[in-house]
Symmetry: C2
């Protein structure tokens, strides 16, 4: 915290992002990349496709003291894609056609269109290509990954101000192009005085935020030089601490305090998410897992397989949305469904057992609940979800009433199931197993 | 476009959002709500939990000409939650303890803690409650949905500038509180000169953006008064048009031009997404559906069941990640897996048939592919996915090589499968069925 660090500002363009039709993945991704090279992000500004608003966003980002400005989006062939020209104007550098770049883009467009068998009007494509090959005078061109080139645009000679890095909107174009941009001399100069900043994350499950706030107040003397933020998300409490090299010892003492005060709820102190912890535990144990999901209908299996290599432990699963599917796929007795209803502890347990049995896995997970908004009753309200995780001779069951929308209930249910799998595997490390 | 519309600026706080650990749902949600009441959003600014950065973001939002500023987040009980105080300072209104509010929050906290059985230190909770009950002098309090109250904070008497609406970060607290905030006299005054703006969306599947750009240029004379943005997302091309009441006829003519030029690829002209179109087609036909997913491992079923009421057509599905699961759950012959491999047209077809057979549905969907990053070969590269949709005597099959990361491949595969289901159902409307 003692040396001033370089700061960057990020401007995300696109009416589709501003109105939420597309969620912005570039701002957060760039922020993380910048953090890793010791650059702070002052702000991320999202603006629509209007020249005045983009100009104003560039202005406010420069005013915030940014050493570098990065834009994403607005480099396509259509008229509403205007970032390159607005940035050129902002930096006092009018745009001109770059004929070499035009040929490069034309070749890419031709290859793409041929590969996809698209109906294409050559004149239309040429006009789009010409637009994408307009470059502000004196800007450095970053070679296109898709069809859009990126740019590094310094202020016009004699003007002061940070350079602007112009990147395309699609993440799979932006991300590799950024790794080229950071080696550009204009960018390395802007970040010349950078110094590494560390970040560590602690994650707790089942501790209220206010309780943690008290712990932080009690140990305020420990926290000098530590920049701590806490965040409650899907029921998990996340403590992220950033600090300079001089505060590393203080961080270690802080982490020890949290571990001592919250031995039961601290589940990660090395940055791993619950997904990482579960995957590592499954791999370590050499265990396999299968799911039988009613209200989450595949979301748990989908999340378990987000990670590359998950086929080592996920064998498959059953999506048992209807009662018939619960019977025929997972072997839940019709009599049980009749007697206690689909949303019940018995059915959750039968689903977990059925998943492990049908997929021949070590661990089975059963989830059944009422995601809503309809289908609730006084006895079984919307948000009620029964969980069961079974394996290695142990069984963990939970009945949770999750607040919020259908989306919230399904998402939170997946997180709870992951934590139950973690607990089942953690208990396997001790000699006895238990049922709760 | 003829009358100037009121503009709002949105400031999203939280280092966890700035660094991408939590994705911002509030900015886009508020932007959409504002659009519906005829208010433009100039920008969304995301800042971390530092007072100076928040102050600067408020300043730049006011400078952008906003008639109202809305903040989200930073109202929790911990010390890094500082929005209320910074906004009070920004508006020239120092904060004071509101004893009535303190009692209200204390009662909520007590109820929540009891319900969850959390270990709680009364003194710690009281300190958090006291912090959350600090209110800038003269601000209007919005009753808490969770524990955090919202605020409407006007500038200090004698100062000019827009009021600031302060809302909590969790979407299920922010959303109901916003509906209270819009009725606040300070807010209705700020939006007094609002006028309704319409928005319409057209969606195409399989038309390149540059081709559409040419159509827009060819019909430039039609487009006066229409604010058009185009966006390519997961292979779908989205055209969103905003316009005032005076341009409604021009929009209708524009929509007719697109329908005439792109009869094969236009799949929605009434704002419905592919999810809506598929759900409506299934309901209309009274058809049921089941999935057998390998590389997407439940993501298609999860998406089909995002919608309330989806149990009317989704009966269930099979997650067949391993070859054993493909055999035992979906009935894919071992001989076939041996002969052509799991990622093949034959296996996709067997999966589709197996899903429909096991779940006893009208339609079966099979997906098998290589999501990566490992497991590819020269013959079957990462991103290769085979699809099959079968039902009502027809079968549609596709072999697609999807570019991008594991995340991209899985997400795009789900979209492609939805479009194949749509096509299968659309062909049912004509007397003959086909295999492609």
């Amino acid at each position: 915290m003692s040396t001033p660090r370089p700061r960057a500002g990020i401007v995300v363009t696109g009416t589709e992002v501003l109105t939420g039709r597309v969620s912005d993945r570039n701002g957060p991704w760039l922020a993380e990349e910048l953090r890793l090279i010791g650059v702070d992000v002052a702000q991320i500004v999202v603006v629509g496709d209007r020249p005045d608003d983009l100009h104003q966003a560039l202005r406010s980002t420069v005013d915030s003291g940014a050493d570098l400005v990065i834009t994403s989006g607005g480099l396509g062939p259509t008229a509403d894609d205007l970032t390159a020209q607005v940035v050129g104007d902002f930096q006092g550098r009018p745009s001109r056609l770059d004929p070499d770049l035009e040929s490069t883009i034309a070749a890419v467009v031709e290859r793409l269109s041929a590969g996809r068998g698209w109906r294409v009007d050559p004149e239309a494509m040429a006009a789009g290509t010409r637009k994408q090959a307009m470059v502000p005078e004196g800007a450095h061109v970053l070679a296109p990954i898709g069809t859009a080139p990126g740019l590094v645009v310094p202020p016009a000679d004699g003007r002061s101000g940070p350079p602007v890095v112009v990147l395309p909107g699609p993440p799979r174009e932006l991300q590799p192009m950024w790794s080229t941009a950071v080696t550009d001399p204009l960018v390395t100069t802007a970040f010349a005085h950078r110094s590494e900043l560390q970040q560590r994350t602690l994650r707790l499950w089942g501790t209220p935020e206010a309780q943690l706030a008290a712990t932080l107040r009690d140990h305020a003397d420990l926290l000098d030089g530590l920049e701590i933020t806490t965040c409650l998300r899907d029921g998990e409490l996340e403590i992220v601490t950033r600090f300079g090299a001089d505060a590393a010892d203080r961080y270690d003492r802080f982490a020890e305090v949290i571990a001592a005060d919250y031995p039961d709820t601290l589940f990660s102190s090395d940055g791993r998410t619950i997904d990482d912890v579960v995957a590592d535990a499954l791999l370590e144990r050499g265990a396999t897992i299968a799911t039988a999901e009613s209200c989450t209908a595949g979301l748990l299996a989908g999340r378990l397989t987000d990670r590359p290599g998950s086929s080592a432990y996920v064998l498959g699963g059953l999506i048992v949305y209807s009662n018939e599917a619960k019977q025929h796929l997972a072997g839940v007795p019709a009599e049980m469904l009749e007697r206690v209803g689909a949303v019940s502890a018995e059915v959750a347990e039968a689903l977990a057992a059925g998943a492990a049995d049908r997929l021949r896995t070590d661990i089975g997970v059963g989830i059944t609940g009422i995601a809503g908004p309809d289908g609730g009753s006084a006895e079984k309200p919307v948000g009620l979800v029964h969980f069961c995780v079974t394996g290695f001779g142990a069984t963990l069951a939970r009945r949770v009433h999750i607040p919020g929308s259908r989306f919230d209930v399904r998402k939170r249910a997946v997180v709870i199931a992951l934590h139950l799998v973690r607990r089942l595997l953690a208990e396997q490390e001790s000699p006895c197993s238990s049922t709760t």
